[in-house]
Subunit: 258 residues, 2 copies
Amino acid sequence: MAKRPLILVTNDDGITAPGLRTLISVMNQLGEVVVVAPDSPQSAMGHAITINSTLYIEEMTIDDGPQKEYACSGTPADCVKIAVNEILDRRPDICVSGINHGSNSSINVIYSGTMSAALEAGIESIPAIGFSLLDYSWGANFEHCTTFVKTIAENVLENGLNDGVVLNVNIPNKTASDIKGIKVCRQARANWKEKFDKRQNPMGRDYYWLTGEFINMDQGEDTDEWALEQDYVSIVPVQFDLTAHHAIKTLNTWDFNA
Amino acid sequence: MAKRPLILVTNDDGITAPGLRTLISVMNQLGEVVVVAPDSPQSAMGHAITINSTLYIEEMTIDDGPQKEYACSGTPADCVKIAVNEILDRRPDICVSGINHGSNSSINVIYSGTMSAALEAGIESIPAIGFSLLDYSWGANFEHCTTFVKTIAENVLENGLNDGVVLNVNIPNKTASDIKGIKVCRQARANWKEKFDKRQNPMGRDYYWLTGEFINMDQGEDTDEWALEQDYVSIVPVQFDLTAHHAIKTLNTWDFNA
């Protein structure tokens, strides 16, 4: 490549998160890196954007390195929008988000701030990847992720992605030698069986904590859940055209003039 | 139907919103209504859920009527989760969300709190519909929406919906006589061309407001944008399996062992 690619890096765990730091270190090997990440954790923000309040950005140095870094007061989707429109002087060649502390496989993609940033880039026709490690802890070990992150990002830089397609990559919490490889998958049909933990505050008012158990209802051996259980890195191509095309025919048989 | 259906009603504009009030009045004609809606506006919340703070629910009476009403301190998705798990004594037969003050057509579905509530119900295998009116104002006139809302909800109660499919209904801001009918559509390929309005706060620090212009890049005559421009009510069946199945084959040709 004649010119080094411009790489936009973001996440939802906030600009100081170790997963983001790992992602920056890999991307510095591949191109010119600009980081625009939330100034505080934004997990489970879904695809929120900030329309009724103000946004601040602040250039800062968290780690040594060639990258430029900006903290933004908004959501992950805001970070991408403001990066593309106000910070970067040209369109990025790729946007990478993560590495998330915790899984964004199967239905978790819907709630994921990490993936919302990647989807936002995809909506802007920028090739984009969200990376997640199956370990929720702040002190998670990201070392074994670097090879996979690099390989997948290199492939996207080289091959591009179809317009409207974004990659959702999840990495097992195993050592590099335990991981069997990379599998392209579909999103498993799974959900959370919620349980609300009901408590009483000191003033006697009831309140709830949301907890839950993950249920994989999908027996397929082509899903991300299956691949991750078998110690593969999973890649699901995801799209933001939510149309359930298979349902259109049925709906057209309905009688709306009753 | 032997037993009146149980109808869960929610929205993202908050429990006092006129659009919700209209939706409740229509649903009271169709079944037993329980309202669980945010205690404050939650627009553009995407599919956010509350995992790091507490949730409160409060039974209240906003309007006279047979419905039961609860305000919840969380997001639209939280409202559905807590309704199903803590408030309702049986599974609802349908969940309706809205009527949103403003469009959720095409790419707006991604940012929509209204649709995130409907999708959350869909994830729980409850037939669900999100309704939106193409008028952002609080004082919007919802009168002409009632016939369409009722017809579509009756159809879903009678026919059900495929598992994994949720309806996204948008209604033109026209009089009933100007609306030509209902069209089943696909989501148009469109996006927002953002513009950030940069200002300086009284302390001299720069801040930004997110504004933007809506761009429909899709010339198809089978899209929701086309239908709405032609004065039809649009119904897009949407799904929360985001897999871009058409991209899997290409990705399987990539070399991940380079």
